[in-house]
Amino acid sequence: MRAGPVLTVLALILALWYAGAVWLNATWTYDQAARSGATVSLGQLLTDTMRQERPVLPAPHQVAAELWKGLTAYAVTSKKSLVYHGYVTLVSTLSGFVLGTGLGIVMAVGIVRSRTLDLGLMPWAVISQTVPVVAIAPMIVVLSNSLGLGDHLGVSNALVSKTVIAAYLSYFPVLVGMVKGLRSPDPMQLDLLKTWNASELQGFVKLRLPSSVPYLFTSLKVGIAASLVGAIVGELPTGAIEGLGARMLIGSQFGSPIIVWAALFAAAILAGLLILLVRGVESLVVGRMGVRT
């Protein structure tokens, strides 16, 4: 019942896409025909706009075919495989996500515990997000290269810079959600713990942390999407040759739109999978804690 309208809208989008492909690619077909002195019938126009090598807008089935080829036609270790590039991006997304989440939680605990940090640090956390991270991305790349942090840790320098960028984007939603969550117990509950003579630490572990979990997971879903954006953006100025962002860059440099579209859809699939994963963990954890929704 609920799928009906969604599928209809999707079909509508697909139809619009095909129409757009014909309309935008027609110029090239007419140019080619004019050069060879031929005339183009409507049937020829329709078939030709569907299978150009360098279309302005590739038709959906071209993108699907390229995506399928990228996912299945090559061994997963091959540089042509989208699975390989997706994996490279996934690694930096996850490492950035873990680092960002950890940082966000630590900062949230500090802000909730110390009034000085609340007043002094919180405004700067907000300002840090109004700074476009991509402006800093090339700087982070240079820094991680010249400091050689990756060499000390035994990973590539590119991974370090991508991790930092992904963490920078993902820590903020976690910080905001955790601060809200840690402050969510109402005064009555806090008073109850006080009457039981609970220490600050006990109150924190037994009341504040558990009540922050639902807020945490809401932020984690935003955070992991932001982290993926960070990983892709981080691949652009690094001159990276691996990863979905690098794939887009290569496609645009070689003027091959189909590659760009396929990489874009691969990134979309990856984002969907990551959000599903967080959602799965959420229902597992929240279910174990006995929360009823």
Partner: protein
Amino acid sequence: MILGLALVFWLLCWGVNASLARSSRAGSRAVRMVIPALFGVAVLVLWQGLVTQLAVPEVILPAPSRIAAAIGENPGLLWVDFVQTILKGALTGYVLGCAAAVVVAVLVDRVPFLRAGLLPIGNFVAALPIVGIAPIMVMWFGFDWQSKAAVVVVMVFFPVLVNMVAGLSASDRMQRDLMATWGASYWQSLWRLRLPAAMPFLFNGLKIAATLALIGAIVAENFGSPTLGMGFRISTAVGKLALPLVWAEIAVAALAGSVFYGLVAAAERAVTFWHPSQRGR
């Protein structure tokens, strides 16, 4: 020695902040401004002290004084880049994208079928890495600011759409019934009740979009740009190891981003002064 002084200054600022935060006037507006400002100054001083004391090469991290000097030396250059990236690219795209999203949201709200069909898709797309369309837009609209604005339009569209649709259904059943008993037409009820009720949600979306707009405009410059613009300048200046200039651009970007966000937040205060989250400040 210099580092020691910087550390002492840091501790001094921390002490002042801690006592301010505990004082009875901690809630006042002035104190709320002074504490983060002191915090920022302390970080800058510590940064300067660290770089000077440890003689960190400029290629790794220039001192704040060098960055300030770079800003002083190239006001013209920074201004041209600012106009190209922020005013032409980001701002045009932001206005167009947000306006389109609001119009579509009203349409979606009017047609229940679209609401059921478009909203799940909109929610999903809002979580996707849309920056990826940057190379496609550069192919379609060329290297100049039009392609940057196009990227920004698509990036800001979905967050604003999702928030606005949620906002349009925010008014109470009671309130809508009251409008109906007064014989208000659809448009009257939209204009007098539902649009004002949607404003807190709309501004939530607008604030998210404000930061996305700058990211979109700068990322798109990586895929092709005329020889100006902040993203272009940063990547070429990094190549030339002119790091103070890079940090000067970053400072301008940070300032522009904060002012942009601040303007949206100020507009929010002016428009939604009646909302509980804005009262009692």
